[in-house]
Each structure stands twice: as C-alpha cells, then as structure tokens.
Symmetry: C2
Subunit: 182 residues, 2 copies
DNA sequence: CCATCATATGCATCTAGTTGCACAGCATCG
DNA sequence: CGATGCTGTGCAACTAGATGCATATGATGG
C-alpha cells in the first residue's frame, strides 16, 4: 500500500505525468522505493477512481498527448490520515543471509566472490548518495524546513549502505582473512 | 525464489515437517526471512514435484500423521548451483522513508511519535539478537566452521538494527531536539 | 464443561509487483 | 537510410506472498 502514498507525496511536491513519476522513481524517491511505469499507470488509475488525484490532458505537437496528474483535496487529506497512523516496522528480508547460512552446504569460494561484488555495489551507492548530499544539501545544519524530510531519507540511505559495507568487510575478514580487504 | 532455498538450507541442517519449518521460520532463519505455514506447504509441494525434497509419512498416535521432509541429492546439487550464482543486491525499500518525505504535507507530531515507537522496536530486536549471540556463540573468535554462516547472519541482523536505531536518533534530534532522546 | 492451545496439513482467494508486449511519432547517430 | 532512443500510455499473463478458512485430535486451563 506504499506506492499509492509515494505517488501522493511525489505529486504533492509537483504535479506530473505517469512518465514523469516513473523517472522520479528511477531517482530521488526511487532510491528507497522502486516502481515500474506499468505499475505506476495501474496505481494512478486506481487512485483517480478513488478521487485522490485528477488529471488534465495536455496536447503536444510532435509528442504524444499526456495526462498531467495533480492532488485533489481528498488526496491531501489522505496524506494527513496516512502520516497520522504508525507504519509497521519492516521485517528484515535478505536472500543473501540465507546464502550465508548455506555456507556449509554450498560453494564457499563463489560466496566470497559474491561478497566482493556486493561490497563494490554498496561502495558505489554510498559514493552516489554522498555526492547527492554534498550537491543538494551543502550545509546540513542550515536546511530549509521543507528539505528536512528528504535530507533524513538520504541520511538513512547512507547509513544503510555504510552498514551493508561494514557487514561485507566483517564477512570477508572471516571467510578470506588472507586477502587485503580494505 | 528465495523461500525455496531457505527451505533447502533448513532441511540440509535437519530433516523436518512443514510444521517444524514454519516454527523455524518464526525463529532463527525467520529473523531474516519470514514465511507462513501456508506458503511453506505450497512451496514444499512444488519442491517435491521438482525432486529437490522427498518425504516419509510418519503415523503418530494421538497426533495427526506427519510428512518428514529431507533433501534429495538433486536438492543438495541445487544448493551448490544456487550458491555459485551471484545474488542480486537488494534494493532499499522503506515505507517509512516515504513517510519522512511526506513531512511537509502530513502530520509531523504523529511522525515523531512513530519514530519513537520504531526506536523501541529496534532496541528490543537488538537486545534479542545480542542475547542470542551471547547464548549460542559465547566466544565468537572460536567458532566451529559450521557455525560461521549463522554467526555472520546474526551479526548482519545486529548491524542492521544498530543502524536503524542510529537513524531514529538522528531523526529525533532533527525533529524533536528538545526531548532527551537517549 | 467450554475455550483455547498445540500438533499437523492444506485449499481458495486476493493483491502487489514483475515481465513481456504493443503502438506512435520525432530526434539523433552511424 | 536504418537503427536506436526518448516521450508517452497502457494491456495481458504470471508469480510470490498475505489472509481467511477448513479439519481433526488431544491436552490444559479457567
């Protein structure tokens, strides 16, 4: 039920087409919640029928017509209702953890190799978030009030990637201590 | 596709009924991968048809009959194949992150209250993992080789909870600095 | 005596999300 | 000149997982 609300937030920040939303879900919000354009169109239709959003058809020349969606007052109300309810704490769900448990029954060298790959991915993501942070929030102690939420989300992403990285390093230290792994 | 492999690992450790597996998924493995008994029975059936597991029916008196499942050699092979392939790095997916982005459009006091609740949950989980670690692995520097995987998984859980906790504290420091939040 | 819990297995239904495919025009690159 | 990519919207089929319900027996607790 979170995609609905992710879209509400995104449209609250700025009206957009399904296509625009799909691109936002490839960036910014999408760092923490992925969605395909197919899924977005499907949910937008449902939200429109629920009266949370409405659209205006814009004719373009040279390009396909588009539907620009915006929030209705019911949509804004829903954001108030939703943020007033507690969000259940997510359960951990890591396929990789299962793989670690499979160590005694599987292919340890391949698993170590996998950890190295994963470490690289987390390093890249962390670097990317850090770059975004430096670019959009050069002075974190002087944020505009409307920036605080997005900043905290970015911080969450950085913390998560740092932790994932630290975990990879702990694993490598156990499983391949002979290698210089840092 | 991970539940199959979680079950394979669990059965590799020890043969079990669907009911037993469901209980394991309420504990140990289940800290990192939840599954309902319905889902487990469904997947066990599929795995049996695929030839990865086989069962022996055990008649009991006073209790319902049960099917004790164990790995076939094809099942053991599959664990080898699976651990030889890279596991894609999971995308972050946090409904709570969306809620943070909703700060300017929602109910800030309720959100702060939610963060406090979440902090408590993460504290409890961390304490629980730490207790398990102390109990089952009192000396982490002298683990048996077959314990290393499970230990590393537990470490991953602890790191994740510590990070979630740290994030909550950062958020509270921003949104409710007047409170003593530690 | 009734309710609930533990053991034990499963079906039916629904929803969110993935994957594949379709169509249409313009721009850009080789 | 052909291929690819961008803009733009969507349907169809499928899968994993969640939720609700069914059934059977024995033990325990109020």
């Amino acid at each position: 039920m979170a995609l609905e609300h992710a879209i509400l937030v995104s449209l609250a920040e700025k009206s957009a087409t399904g296509y625009d939303l799909a691109r936002r879900f490839d960036a910014s919000i999408g760092y923490f919640w992925k969605a395909s354009h197919q899924q977005i169109y499907k949910v937008l239709g449902r939200m429109e029928r629920a009266g949370w959003v409405e659209f205006e058809t814009v004719t373009q020349d040279g390009r396909p017509d588009k539907k620009v969606y915006g929030l209705t007052s019911a949509g804004r109300d829903e954001l108030g209702v939703w943020t007033s309810k507690a969000t259940p704490v997510e359960d951990l769900r890591s396929e990789f953890a299962i793989k670690l448990r499979a160590l005694p029954f599987g292919n340890p060298t391949a698993i170590v190799e996998d950890v190295r790959t994963r470490r690289r991915v987390h390093e890249e993501r962390l670097a990317y978030y850090a770059k975004s942070a430096a670019r959009f929030y050069p002075d974190p102690d002087a944020l505009r009030p409307d920036q605080v939420g997005a900043w905290l989300v970015l911080r969450g992403g950085m913390l998560a990637e740092e932790t994932a990285l630290a975990w990879c390093n702990e694993i490598l230290q156990r499983l391949a201590p002979e290698d210089t792994d840092r």
